[in-house]
Assembly symmetry: C2
Homo-oligomer: 377 residues x 2
């Protein structure tokens, strides 16, 4: 939980540097064995150890300090043995900065075939090859320890939306039991975060927070959000949940969201984010900009010689026009999804930098999020 | 054909700096309005204005001086009007260095539907949208002039292999007539290259060379090679053809080939190359290395923690192992074809640099080409 600084002194894993006065936002730094992470921070998603379409040299050049990778995907292929033999996930991926892995729980619930949930853990088959797997909190901790990640996540149960209340209650109960087992068994060099579940039920969120906080995790995630519920519910539950988590520890909102969602969550006191939107939507021809979303395949961009975002300093906006990118997209050129993914990831990283600067300069109250509407001219 | 140097003096478009003693190889420099090109040179292929999977920032960082783009693809989409309105192809693509375009002839013969070849030109339909087009030497020159390219190509007729001799003779006759019309009508700021055809027939190659040379093009290409004929024939025809072309002008071998093919052609006196192999094969999981070709999906690389090429300084080899890349490829991760394309293009550019250095240092005779066999361990 603590790192040694250049002078040999222990420094706390998470320090808050500035607080916003008009909201719960804060600017901080999370120390890891692979460098410090300035928060609020967006973590690009590297499901299988690569951020789709964005070479790691770009991420380093753009001062990205941490990426997320998925235990579920890595355990299936190449498997933990291959990663361990490579000397851990950092060396296997070729990424020397910090890595956070999820625990696999979310993907098991959403991707795996024929899963069977018991008190002990969850049995499932990887759809791609039918391999039978059994994931317990202890196994999830062993995997993340073998990966050697900087931030590991407790194994949780994440019900979809909508779910019966009884199902969400059951998920909460298992999540708490597994949090305790995760906490006890994690022996990795990184820090372990607990996960708050409870669906859209405010009382369940509150009910779960107390026992979770008793386990005294070095950080906490808000899980079970952005699993299909309306956007208003996402923001409401995020705000409620952030307020339930310890002030002095990092808060991580899993799987959210648009640039505007991120700003709202930062104002609610969230520090860490991951989301597939910039890469997945980039591959689909959808770019985030300060003036709104650009659906690049649209006819209206056919002769548009301006960049995706005139204020963006990314390698794509410095060089290419919407007309050029549209032509590549319409023709399904392999470079097109790559270029939009690059822009989007840069845009997200830059957006978080602007948010951090605004907190430091006490101007967060006047920071306006990019509109979520599509640009129409 | 000439550029003005820093002192206001005219300098010839092509200068030979060193000659190899044991072969016809030479090292030179081709001056263009968008920078100088050191030869022998490989031009990455940007069919639709993008080198698939390789961002232009990489090409600039790797000292790539020129890319090739395809008139046929650009005239179809986005169309010459869009490119002209953008201020030319350099600005449309966002590539400030030199551009060579082919004339469209090759693609019309190999890709277009329902083409009709006459003395005047070739009528065809773009298969994607059924648009009817008529390409004449004059139109091909107008297009390349509007693109504003640094090196334009005459319109030629490129018969496939095998073809009846009569068909090749007919192609030669049209190619020569069109070369003359191309030469007369080209009004662009770049230089125009003539193209030698003649298939695998040595006598036709010889027969075509004389009238082509009379047109006094600033450079010459060897066309009609690598269209299906055996590798031995490619090398034989390349050697013969290079010897027929003027010593003091740049020679460009169109559409060839492997690193070993390039070295053989350099020894025959060729200066410029383009080929889709590094990008197309990269996307298929095929990497070029100094020790042979790596078919990355092969099981044998599953636990191989060495880079694609231990001697390669590219961003992929500096960071990633074969095991990592294999896993991404097997799982069809979007980054996998991108990373192999990056490596391959870097490898080709670096291979040409090594060839240039060997000519300068008089060590070309002992330079060994990478084996063309697949690496088996």
């Amino acid at each position: 939980m603590c790192q040694v600084d250049n002078h040999g002194n222990l420094k706390p894993a998470f320090r808050i540097l500035d607080r916003d006065h008009g909201s719960s936002a804060r600017r901080g730094v999370l120390e890891t064995l692979h460098g410090s992470i300035e928060t609020p921070c967006f973590m690009p998603v590297g499901t299988r150890g690569a951020v789709k379409g964005v070479a790691f040299d770009w991420l380093e050049a753009w001062d990205c300090r941490v990426v997320l990778s998925n235990t579920y995907h890595l355990m299936a292929r190449p498997g933990v043995e291959t990663i361990a033999r490579a000397g851990g996930l950092h060396r296997f991926m070729g990424w020397p900065r910090a890595i956070l892995t999820d625990s696999g729980g979310f993907q098991v619930m959403s991707l795996a075939a024929r899963r069977r949930l018991t008190e002990e853990g969850v049995e499932f088959r990887i759809p791609e090859d039918g391999t039978k797997q059994f994931l317990t909190p202890e196994r999830a901790m062993d995997l993340q320890t073998a990966f050697g990640v900087d931030v590991a996540m407790a194994l949780d149960v994440c019900p979809p939306f909508p779910s019966e209340r009884a199902e969400v209650e059951h998920a909460c109960r298992l999540t708490l039991a597994w949090a305790e087992r995760s906490r006890r068994s994690y022996a990795g060099a990184g820090v372990l975060f607990g996960i708050l579940q409870g669906g859209t039920h405010a009382d369940l969120r509150r009910h779960c927070a107390a026992p979770l906080l008793e386990l005294d995790f070095p950080g906490y995630a808000i899980g079970g959000v952005a699993v299909g519920e309306p956007k208003a519910a996402i923001r409401e539950i995020t705000e409620l949940s952030a307020g339930l988590l310890p002030e002095g520890k990092p808060r991580y909102l899993m799987g959210v969201g648009t640039p505007a969602d991120l700003l709202a969550a930062v104002r609610a006191g969230v520090d860490l984010f991951d989301c597939v939107l910039p890469t997945r939507n980039g591959r689909m021809g959808h770019a985030y900009t300060a003036r709104g979303e650009v659906a690049i395949k649209h006819e209206r961009f056919k002769e548009d010689l301006s960049p995706l975002d005139p204020e963006c300093a990314c390698p794509v906006c410095r060089r290419h026009s919407r007309a050029y990118l549209r032509n590549l997209f319409v023709l399904k050129d392999f470079s097109a999804p790559m270029l939009l993914s690059m822009h989007n990831v840069f845009f997200y990283l830059d957006w978080m930098r602007r948010i951090r600067d605004a907190i430091a300069e006490a101007t967060l109250a006047v920071l306006e999020a990019p509109p979520e509407e599509k640009i129409s001219c």
